[in-house]
């Protein structure tokens, strides 16, 4: 992967000699990359923090994302994060290329499912994959639940993605989703079910116990507050305030 990124960076540097940063910045601007982001790269280039070739290599994944009709916000956010953390351009390009790769995989998966490529689902999938959710888990989810109503599908998708990022066993997630989809009890608030999991774990509860309580509540189309009560704590523990409180 690192070798591939190095190759891409080298190729983009060579390309930069022909087209130059100015042309690439114009292309990015036409594509809808924010003027603030382009201005930031221009100022880094002007002050010598970035070479023209590095600036081009940073804009390339954004232009590629634009060509693929992917939402640019995710890519711009990663670029801004890299700049804020003073990460070298090579590492930022590698992270952007990985994100691009994951978004392409997500788009292909949605197209193959026959349900069309809804932008919201694409973002949840692309971001989830970038953050470590296994491709196979998403493939299983899309194949099993892809024929449900878009809102229900999206709620389950986000719930599953966050649970996976928290290390929740996919087998347990599926057991809850099966009940939730069957009884239509998967209301939008369930996408943040992971908050219950995090609090319950702090209290020493096992993931099996959490999934069992959630399944029972979903059968009755209950709420997250009902799960909290089942697990022996109150909804006050899930005030939704900052976790750094």
């Amino acid at each position: 992967m690192a070798l591939l990124a190095f190759f891409l960076l080298s190729a983009s540097c060579a390309w930069a000699g022909d087209a130059g940063f100015v042309k690439m910045a114009d292309r990015a601007r036409e594509c809808g990359v924010s003027s603030g982001m382009i201005g930031q790269i221009e100022s880094f280039t002007a002050e010598g923090s970035l070479s023209d070739a590095e600036a081009v290599s940073l804009l390339l994944p954004l232009v590629a994302a634009c060509a693929d009709n992917f939402p640019l916000a995710s890519f711009e956010d990663k670029l801004a994060e890299g700049f804020a953390k003073q990460v070298g351009p090579f590492s930022i390009v590698r992270a952007l290329d990985r994100k691009l790769d994951e978004f392409r995989f997500a788009r292909d998966m949605l197209q193959d499912s026959g349900g069309g490529v809804a932008q919201q689902a694409l973002v949840v999938l692309g971001e989830g994959l970038s953050k470590g959710v296994p491709r196979q888990d998403f493939k299983t989810y899309v194949s099993m639940y892809g024929d449900h109503a878009p809102e229900l599908f999206l709620t389950g998708l986000e719930m599953m993605s966050l649970l996976s990022q928290a290390g929740f066993d996919f087998r347990l997630t599926r057991s809850m989703l099966d009940v939730g989809f069957a009884g239509k009890g998967l209301s939008p608030e369930w996408r943040y079910f992971v908050r219950i999991v995090l609090v319950a774990r702090q209290r020493g509860l096992t993931d099996d116990a959490i999934a069992e309580a959630a399944g029972t509540v979903l059968e009755d189309s209950g709420s997250l507050a009902d799960v909290a009560v089942h697990l022996g704590f109150t909804s006050r523990d899930l005030s939704g305030r900052g976790l750094s409180n």
């Binding site: 956010d77 990663k78 801004a80 994060e81 890299g82 700049f83 804020a84 953390k85 003073q86 990460v87 590492s91 930022i92 590698r94 992270a95 990985r98 970038s130 953050k131 470590g132 966050l162 990022q165 928290a166 209301s187 939008p188 608030e189 943040y192 992971v194 908050r195 995090l198 609090v199 702090q202 709420s223 997250l224 507050a225 909290a228 909804s235 899930l238 005030s239 939704g240 305030r241 900052g242 976790l243 750094s244 409180n245």
Partner: protein
């Protein structure tokens, strides 16, 4: 002396002449025409404004006609309270106040900021204040619903994950971002 005597004599002659003149009535309507042609004195703008303010007025209304006015006023009042209560971000998203806290714990930091996906990772609008009472750096920020990644930026250089965060993620750059979940409107019951 001779001059004075002559002037007095002349004055007496003129006064005697005036007294002996015949009395003649003014033409008919003379007074009215004179008064019509006199320009009335226009008060200054300030005086007119002061008179307008201080002049008493009487207002008459019927209760039936006032009902729509009261109804409109009540609607505006309710909408105003609702707008204040929802703390809308301007794009229809309900914002929540999130309190970030970082204990200094001997770091002796000069500045701390929260950088994250909710502020485009920009430190300039996210500086924390040091609370002497608790010895901690504190920031209250307005965040839209969703899961947000963030880190603390200490002294403008050092990155720190939130030790109190319940969840973290690999940022792809060798650090771990802390995660904060913010309620959506439908989760207010929680």
């Amino acid at each position: 002396m001779t001059d004075d005597r002559e002037k007095r004599r002349l004055d007496n002659t003129i006064m005697e002449g005036l007294r002996s003149m015949p009395e003649v009535d003014p033409p008919k309507g003379f007074s009215a025409r004179v008064m019509e042609n006199l320009e009335p004195k226009r008060p200054s703008a300030w005086t007119r404004f002061r008179l307008w303010l201080t002049e008493p007025r009487s207002v008459t209304f019927t209760p039936v006609r006032m009902i729509p006015v009261f109804a409109a006023a009540m609607v505006l009042l309710v909408l105003g309270f609702y707008a204040m209560d929802t703390n809308d971000s301007g794009n229809g998203m309900r914002m929540s106040t999130i309190r970030f806290v970082l204990n200094d714990s001997g770091m002796n930091a000069r500045t701390v900021a929260v950088i994250g996906s909710f502020n485009s990772w920009q430190a300039h609008d996210a500086a924390m204040r040091f609370d002497d009472a608790t010895g901690a750096w504190v920031l209250e920020a307005q965040l839209p619903p969703g899961d947000h990644e963030y880190m603390f930026l200490v002294d403008g250089q050092k990155l720190m994950a939130d030790p109190l965060a319940q969840m973290t993620r690999d940022d792809g750059f060798g650090n771990r971002n802390s995660i904060v979940f913010v309620n959506g409107t439908y989760e207010q019951a929680l």
